[in-house]
């Protein structure tokens, strides 16, 4: 993108410097990071830069249901660029209850206006589970149940993205006995949607998905659970920085023990990394460098992105290892330098030597008897 022909296209990027309040260099670094996070081919970062700089900002409607707002909180901590710049300048966030200055009927009016104006083109983001029991009466906004709101907004959306485990598959509110009948977006709508599970999910997984939508006018490739493959294609276990300890059989056996303090593998403390698909160990959290994710700080992965594991299995319960089951025995870490003589082998040696010496003496004595006639012959 740095040859002469591409040079004039860069003109659009100058706008970014004003719009986002970030330097051109930083902006291109952001686009490259997005492309790399999604595992896109070379050249995609240029397309992303062009799209972000020049395309009309897509309208985004963001719904909150049964949740803790952790997903939004997490998103607010994104640093490159800061999320408030992004949601105000890159996308057009037309409805978001946590971030709105408006309230009440004014806010609802904005939602209706955006839905009408961008019919069939807006992006619907859902945060939180949807209660379905007793007609969905357990969560109401502006007099409408979560069920009604979701169906209404999803009808004319270009795409639906479920952010967080609650929206993805029910998450924490759906934990047994699930008194409100909490469900995920896909289940309620009866059709697959893109899910960004996690409690909270990594903000860059969400941002990358949105930017992909903006750049290519379609959502990224997803797996059978609707999760973008670029973020959820690998087990936590596969890229874990403590994996070498697992392979060598070095485990923390309880919190605070010697192995735990030495940073050994947390599998035996119930780490769900071996059965959880997420890119946490690869891209980390909070942009503060290495170790900034649960396992990095010494806590087992709880499997928050996986239905049936996060909030369902006990933290102490052993993971059901999906890839390499621990071997029966491990290569030794400390090499023994040899054992000395033990009683059994020494006794055997002495016994054999004694028997041989005795037999030799008897044979020699008998041979002596035989020698005498020989000598008589001579």
């Amino acid at each position: 993108m740095y040859d002469d022909s591409a040079r004039e296209d860069d003109a659009g990027l100058d706008v970014i410097e004003r719009k986002l309040g970030m330097s051109r260099r930083n902006f291109l670094q952001f686009c490259t990071a997005m492309a790399a996070t999604m595992g896109l081919p070379a050249g995609a970062e240029a397309a992303i830069a062009q799209a972000v700089a020049t395309k009309e900002r897509p309208s985004v409607i963001w719904l909150h249901f049964q949740e803790c707002t952790g997903c939004t909180e997490s998103l607010l901590r994104a640093e490159h660029p800061t999320i408030e710049k992004l949601i105000l300048e890159v996308i057009s966030l037309d409805y978001h209850e946590s971030l709105f200055a408006a309230a009440g009927h004014q806010a609802e009016a904005a939602r209706h206006a955006a839905m009408a104006k961008h019919k069939g083109k807006y992006l619907l983001v859902v945060e939180g589970a949807i209660p379905t029991k007793d007609g969905g009466i357990y969560c109401k906004i502006g007099g409408k149940t979560a069920l009604e709101l979701l169906k209404e907004c999803a009808a004319d959306a270009a795409a639906v993205v479920a952010i967080g485990s609650c929206a993805s598959w029910g998450g924490m509110p759906s934990t047994k006995p699930n008194p409100t009948g909490s469900s995920g977006v896909a289940e309620v709508l009866g059709k697959p949607v893109v899910t960004i599970p996690g409690c909270p999910p990594n903000p860059y997984n969400f941002l990358s998905t949105v930017v992909h939508f903006l750049t290519f006018a379609k959502l990224p490739e997803v797996d059978h659970l609707g999760r973008p493959k670029f973020a959820y294609g690998r087990l936590v276990h596969e890229n874990c920085e403590r994996r070498a300890h697992y392979d060598a059989g070095r485990f923390a056996m309880e919190f605070g023990d010697d192995g735990h303090r030495k940073g050994y593998c947390l599998y035996k403390l119930g780490c769900k990394g071996p059965e959880t698909y997420a890119n946490c160990p690869s891209i980390l959290f909070g942009d503060v460098g290495s170790g900034s994710w649960p396992v990095g700080t010494g806590h087992p992965c709880i499997g928050c992105t996986e239905k049936g594991i996060g909030f369902a299995k006990g933290i102490h319960e052993l993971a059901d290892v999906k890839t390499v089951v621990p071997p029966v025995s491990y290569p030794r870490i400390v090499e023994e330098q040899g054992k000395g003589a033990d009683f059994a082998s020494t006794a055997t040696l002495v016994g054999i030597a004694g028997a041989a010496a005795g037999a030799g003496a008897v044979i020699a004595r008998n041979l002596g008897k035989r020698d005498d006639p020989d000598q008589a012959d001579e």
Partner: protein, 396 residues
């Protein structure tokens, strides 16, 4: 055995016959069975399950005894071939076939023992595969020579089988080519018995200076040939007294004098080398290793002193001298390969009971097979009379 003129019936080896089930054979069979059980365990669960060998002592009693000492004890065939065919002392010919039989076993089982000790035994063929083998290595020479020699010995011994089954055509064919195999049968052991000494030269400072010398190959070769003669004396004495055959004392006396010559040469080289390289003092200042050194020397010196003059004709002196020679040669190898070998601080080795039981089982199997084969194959000379020996000596 083939280039000799046809032997008279009285002079021809014949099967001894008799029962194969005796207390000795039963005990030997039991000990062999124990070894087979332990080896099965070793091949299923690995070396660590039965042996005490470790990273500092990558070989133990299976190599030091079964292979290094075992093949030296099996030098009877080699030494006798050297004496009878190269030195052309035809009167010792009756001793060749029994010596060859013992050598055959010693070497075949020694070769098999290498397999027991190989951690990744399934890769054993690499050493015979061009491209995978390293022709520069001492181990390569030892492995190839020993393997070839085992095959050569089976060919050398095959007339005994052909006699037994009456395959005269095959026997004639093999005997016509026998000169080549006998030539190889002398060349190959000369090469690898000296190379077993070279193995230790390669170890450098890890071998105590009392044993480490560039002359190790020569010392190993001299002592191996001497042990070959000693083992012929030892086996012949045991066989003739055990099976109540006519004594071969007069032939053995001749062999003992050859052995003594080699022993004297060995001691001259050993002490000469220590004196020239200024290491004689170590023989007194090395603590436990000094003791082992002098024990070795005592075993080597005893036959020299004992088998002088008329005493050489006494079966008892011959037997004690031969045993002493075998102990000396065996201890020399055990010291070089294990006792005087130290790879670094902290490493120790002592054979485990299962390791010892395999070695004992292997010896028991050799004894068992020897007894069975001399009873069913023409190896020994059962009815040899004193005049026949006299005639053989006179013919020489």
């Amino acid at each position: 055995m083939s280039i000799q003129k046809p032997l008279s019936p009285a002079h021809r080896p014949a099967p001894l016959g008799g029962s194969l089930v005796t207390p000795v054979t039963v005990i030997c069979a039991l000990l062999s069975a124990i070894a087979v059980y332990i080896l099965a365990k070793r091949f299923i669960f690995g070396l660590g399950a039965v042996t005490n060998i470790n990273d500092g002592f990558p070989w133990g009693v299976w190599i030091a005894w079964d292979v290094v000492i075992g093949t030296a004890l099996a030098c009877g065939g080699y030494s006798m071939a050297l004496l009878v065919y190269i030195m052309n002392k035809g009167r010792y010919h009756p001793l060749v076939r029994p010596a060859l039989l013992a050598s055959l076993f010693g070497y075949t089982l020694g070769g098999a023992s290498v397999m027991f000790d190989l951690g990744r035994y399934w890769n054993f063929y690499h050493i015979f595969t061009p491209g995978l083998a390293h022709p520069d290595s001492v181990m390569f020479e030892v492995a190839v020579c020993i393997s070839l020699y085992i095959m050569v010995m089976w060919v050398e011994f095959s007339p005994a089988f052909f006699d037994r089954f009456g395959w005269t055509g095959m026997k004639t064919l093999v005997e016509r080519l026998m000169f080549a195999f006998i030539g190889l049968g002398v060349l190959l052991p000369s090469m690898h018995q000296s190379s077993l000494g070279s193995l230790l030269v390669v170890f450098g400072h890890q071998i105590h200076p009392l044993w480490q010398t560039p002359l190790l190959p020569l010392l190993f070769l001299l002592s191996a040939i001497a042990m070959g003669f000693a083992v012929v004396v030892f086996e012949s004495t045991l066989a003739t007294s055990g099976f109540r055959l006519k004594s071969e004392t007069r032939l053995l006396a001749g062999i003992a004098s050859v052995m003594n010559g080699l022993l004297a040469a060995y001691l001259v080289v050993r002490f000469g080398d220590l004196a020239v390289s200024g290491k004689l003092g170590l023989a007194f200042s090395s603590g436990f290793l000094s003791l082992m050194f002098w024990l070795e020397i005592a075993f080597f010196a005893l036959p020299l002193l004992l088998l002088q003059g008329a005493r050489r004709n006494r079966a008892r002196c011959l037997f004690i001298g031969a045993v002493s020679m075998l102990l000396g040669g065996g201890l020399y190898r055990m010291d070089g390969f294990l006792v005087a070998y130290q790879t670094g601080a902290g490493w120790t080795y002592f054979p485990s009971l299962p390791e010892l039981m395999v070695t004992i089982g292997l010896i028991a199997f050799e004894v068992l097979a020897y007894i069975v084969l001399v009873r069913v194959l023409p190896v020994l000379h059962p009815n040899k009379s004193e005049p026949a020996v006299a005639a053989a000596v006179a013919a020489e």
